[in-house]
Structure formats: C-alpha cells, structure tokens
Amino acid sequence: MALTKDRLWKVYRDMVLIRRFEEEVEKYAQNGTIPGFIHLSIGQEAAQAGVVEALKYTDYKFPDHRGHGAIVLSSPQERRKNCMSEIFAKESGINHGRGGSMHVNDLEARNMGFNGIQGSTVVTCLGTAFDSYYRKANKMEGWEADDKDLDVTAVFMGDGTLGEGTCHESLNMAATWNLPIIYCLINNHYAISTHYTESHPQQQLSTWGKGYEVPSFTVDGNDIEAVIEITEQAAERARKGEGPTLIEFMTYRWQGHFSGDPAAYRPDGELEAWQAKCPLLQTKKKLMEVHGYSEEELDALHAEVEEEIQGYVKFSLESPSPKAEDAMKFVYMDREVEGR
C-alpha cells in the first residue's frame, strides 16, 4: 500500500524528527550533560514512526528501552520538549526528571512508559488491553454498544526481549482471550552483543507467534509504508475483538547498545549495508522520485525540524533540576515517606 503524498511527507518529517532528536541526545549524553545511560534508535525510525502513525491517540503505547522515537511522537506537539527535558533530568521533564530516558511516559497520550526490565511491559500491556475488553463485556458506562471498538495496545519489544518468559505468558493469554494487542517486535538483530540467531532457533522470530495461533508477520522495518500498512491491519483486527497480532520489523540499530558502546561485535560491513537501507533515505527518494518533491522543499522540511529540535534542546538546557526532596513524592498514593 502506497501512502498518499501528504501522509508520506508527514511521516518522513516524523522520522527526521526522531533522527535529529536522537543525535542531539547522543551529543549531550557524550559530553556528560545527560546523566545515566541512553539507548539510541538511529536506524530504527521507520518502525517507531510507522507504528505510532497507524495508531490512534487513545490507543495504548508501550515504548521499549530504545523508544525515544515512539515516545516523542506519541506526545502532542506542546509536550515534546518536555520529553527531551525528561531525558536531561529536569524539573520541566514530562515526569519531572523522575524516570529519564528509559521511563518517559505521558498518560494523557497513553504512552505508558517502559519498565526497565526486559519483558515486563509485555505482560503489563495485557492489562491496558484487558481494560476495554472488560468494560465492553460488562457493558460499563460508555461501553454499552455491541459495535464499539476496543482500544488497541501496542507493545514494542526487541529480538532480545523474546527470550523472556513473559513473552510466552503474554502471547498465550492474549491469544486465548482475543485481547487487542499488537506485539511490535523490533528485530534489530542484536541483544546487546548477541545476534538473535545465536539465541533463538528461528531464522525469523515472527514464526514464534504461530505456535499461539497468533497471526504473525515479518516486514521490512525500514519501509515506513510497509510498517504502517501491516500495523493498521493489526489495529483493525484488534479493535474488532479479533485478537492480537505479532509483527516482526526487520531493522538495525546504527549505534552500539548504549551510547558509547563501540559495537565491536558486529562483522565488518554490516553497518554500512544497513546504512544503505536507511529508512529516511528510502523515503526521501520516494518523495522526490514518485511524488515530485524538490530538494528545496526537503531542505525546508529539514530546517523546520532543526528549529524545533533546537527549541527542545534550549528548553532542556535552560530548565532547572528538580528539587532533591521531591524524590520522596509518590512512593505511595495516600501516604508520605519520611525524608532526610
């Protein structure tokens, strides 16, 4: 399915935004401004932008640890700068600097955040999927109509995540109850240093879903049109109560596991081969060759994104740190915990 000219333009812009977001995050992580460690998604923009594009604002999104792209695109324009300042550990961060890179969440946009433990959100997502399933089954307020669509839950997971037992439990339960989940398996080939074929018997991890009778697909995760098409189909099935889908998006992370990992475990030439399949380059080519956009128009898009990103960076750098004693907040909903 080819996207309309305008939609392809829009998602190209989304991908450029992710790329520039990640490059800036890397810069400030490398120079020590951003504390802790970060996982960059450069090279994987299409899978993130495409999945978010295929979903509604009211669908639940569980980004993975390499999820800055899905995070920033899930939030509306006015809160995107706060996603970046969260990574900078600032009070203006969307979670007031409480979680940082790995836990950025925006409940209003139904970005449910990532749990730092691989596989954890793969079972938590059962619950957000169960919510509308339950409300509809019990004809709760607002859910009385038989034809009302369920809210979809998309959970991002990596090829490495699949080794966790939660993935088995989750797929089994979701398939048994027809829960509205899309398992977005971002296969970037490596779990830190271990190639997925060294830790799994399958050549394509999507075949793993077939044992649960879950419709399972492998697509080119660098082809944004393919990503959107398959995700929209899965979302449609989920909404209608027809159950979960497992989609394996074949892609590649250009950096090491964390910012600063030299990734010496990769064979020579592998990165370069994938860089030639850059999702941004592919889309740009299509925009120019198929849809007739000019170099000037694309330059203008890049300049616009650049201005936006520099705005986020400025905001993040200028924002103050949170108050130290605010660390004591929200351990419990209904009781205080004694501070120093």
Binding site: G99, M112, N138, V331, R335
Partner: protein, 325 residues
C-alpha cells in the same frame, strides 16, 4: 448484625459485597472462577458475574502484569496466588512494576491491585507451599503487606485493601481458613497502616501476626497467672509498619518479644528490633527476644516441620527471659 463466620467465609463475603458495590473490581487467577479457588475462597463469584471472574493459565507473571496494566486504566483487580511461595515466579511484576508505577507516573496513576496470597506452614506441604514471604517484600518501598489473624480482620482488611490505592499483598494464612469469629453481615473496611492493640498490658509487649496471634493470646493468659502483664500488638499491616503504635507500647512496657512464623534472619522481627533500639533505647529494660522458625526451609515430615516452626513454649521462655534480665 454479627454472626460467627469462618476466615475463608469472611474473605468470600468481602469479595462478593465489594464486587456488588464496585463494578471495577474483578478477580483472576488459577482456578478462581469456575472452581471457586483451590481453597474455595472465590466460590459463587463466577456464577454471579461470569465476566468478572477469570481462570488463567499457570502464568503468574501474566496475571500480575494484567493487574498492573488494568489498574492504571482504573480497574481494581484482585488476583489470587494459590500459594504465596509463587511470588517467586512473578516477583518482578510485584517489586519492579506494581511497587513503582505510582512513582513512575508521578502519582497520576498507580497499581491499585490486591494480590491475595495463601501463606504459611503447618499443612505438611514442604518448602514450596509453606513459606512466610513477607520479608521478601519488605525492602520495597511502594508495596503494602496486609496480614489478618481472624475472620473479622480478614473481611474488613480485604475491603480496605481493595480500596487502598497502592499494590497490596494480602496474606491469608491457610491454617486460619477454618477458624471462626464474630463478623458483621454488612460491608465494612478496616483502615490499613494501623496496628491493633489486641490487649493492653504493662510488663511485656508481644508483637505477633496471623497464626502467631493465638500463641500470643495463650501466653498472655498463662503469664497473667504469674502476675506478668502482657500487651499484645497485631501489626495487621506488616509493611509499612505502624511504628508509632509499636514504639509507644514498647516505651511503656520496656520489653519486646516478637513472635514471627518465618525464619529469624532478616524477618520483620529484625526490623521491629532495630526500630526500638534506634528510637527508644533508653526505655528498654531487656534485650529483644525473637521467637521464630529455624533458619531452614520448611520440611515435609511432620516431626521435622513441627521441630522447625515456632514453639509455643519458646514464647513463654522468651517472656520469662526478658522479665528476668
């Protein structure tokens, strides 16, 4: 109106009545729906509300994960862990997810879930179906652990736990299921985080929970005959502990004996001991005494299990020792 009701009947009634009142409450777990639970605690719920009682696969991680996600959306799940020992297989969902969601979401949402966990020894089921798990969870800010010792407390505390906005591990000691006490017919809740002064006294404070309460009450009666006045405190919420009530009592009596079913090392008795030494050292008339299980797994052979679990005579001995110090 009150009448005698069993501990298991009280929990069942609490679930029925709270589910009647609040349509967001549902139950899930292994065999909890059609069968009504391995211990029969959830009987009659599936018949009444087939869409609010879910039998699951043997998947404790999925059960707890579903609870956490559903709670963030505003539902109130009550999950059953057939044996508290199974916390081991869903530990991550409890300590790294449930306990941290409120923190992660800046108080905008939390894991308002109840995990009913069947705990404790005494039924000759060996080391994987007999453990007291509370210390496994007491180092995790964000969790709440509740432990009733009779039917009245069980009903009120379960309702209080379902309404509590935090993740609550609700410990049901299997030896208590058939014990009976006066329980009001109507729905009521008991406030969490509050210890109960079960009996007032002036010489020794005994802190005990669940089945150990019976030891404490029996010992208090026996010691009374010798002129020793025992104050008994039941924490009810084992974590976070009601420090004030416990410390106030020990400040008054000057002596603390903790009767705890689980192993001694790093049990909650250790925390109680640290608490009084830190806060009211000058009031103490004797060292802390802990009556606990021995530090071994719970064995199967009755003669061995009886050897390992706490002995009533040791409670009397500990009380005599703190008086004689």
């Amino acid at each position: 109106m009150t009448r005698k009701l069993s501990f298991s009947g009280a929990i069942n009634e609490a679930l029925h009545q709270e589910m009647e009142r609040d349509e967001t409450v549902f139950i899930l777990g292994e065999d909890v729906a059609k069968m009504g639970g391995d211990f029969g605690i959830t009987k009659g719920i599936w018949e009444k509300w087939p869409n609010r009682a879910y039998d699951t696969a043997l998947s404790e991680q999925a059960i707890l994960g579903l609870c956490n996600g559903a709670a963030v959306c505003g539902l109130k799940p009550v999950a059953e862990l057939m044996f508290a020992d199974f916390v081991g297989v869903c530990y991550d969902q409890l300590i790294n997810n449930a306990a941290k969601l409120c923190y992660m979401y800046d108080g905008q949402a939390s894991a308002q879930i109840v995990v009913r966990a069947v705990t404790g020894g005494g039924i000759r089921c060996a080391y994987h179906h007999s453990q007291c798990i509370e210390p496994w969870l007491m180092n995790i800010p964000g969790l709440v652990i509740v432990a009733p010792s009779n039917a009245y407390e069980a009903k009120g505390l379960l309702v209080g736990s379902i309404r509590n906005q935090n993740p609550v591990v609700f410990l049901e000691h299997k030896l208590l299921y058939n014990t009976k006490s006066e329980v009001p017919e109507e729905l009521y809740d008991i406030e969490l985080y509050k210890a109960k002064v079960v009996k007032e006294g002036s010489d020794i404070t005994i802190v005990a929970a669940m089945t150990m309460m019976a030891f404490a009450e029996k010992a208090a009666k026996e010691l009374e005959k010798e002129g020793i006045s025992v104050e008994i405190i039941n924490p009810l919420t084992i974590f976070p502990l009601d420090k004030e009530t416990i410390v106030d009592s020990v400040a008054k009596t000057g002596r603390l004996v903790v009767v705890q079913e689980g192993p001694k090392v790093m049990g909650y008795a250790a925390e109680l001991g640290a608490m009084v030494v830190e806060d009211i050292f000058e009031y103490l008339k004797a060292p802390l005494k802990r009556v606990t299980s021995l530090d071994v797994p719970v064995p199967f052979a009755p003669v061995q299990e009886d050897y390992v679990l706490p002995h009533y005579d040791d409670v009397i001995k500990a009380c005599h020792e703190v008086m004689a110090f």
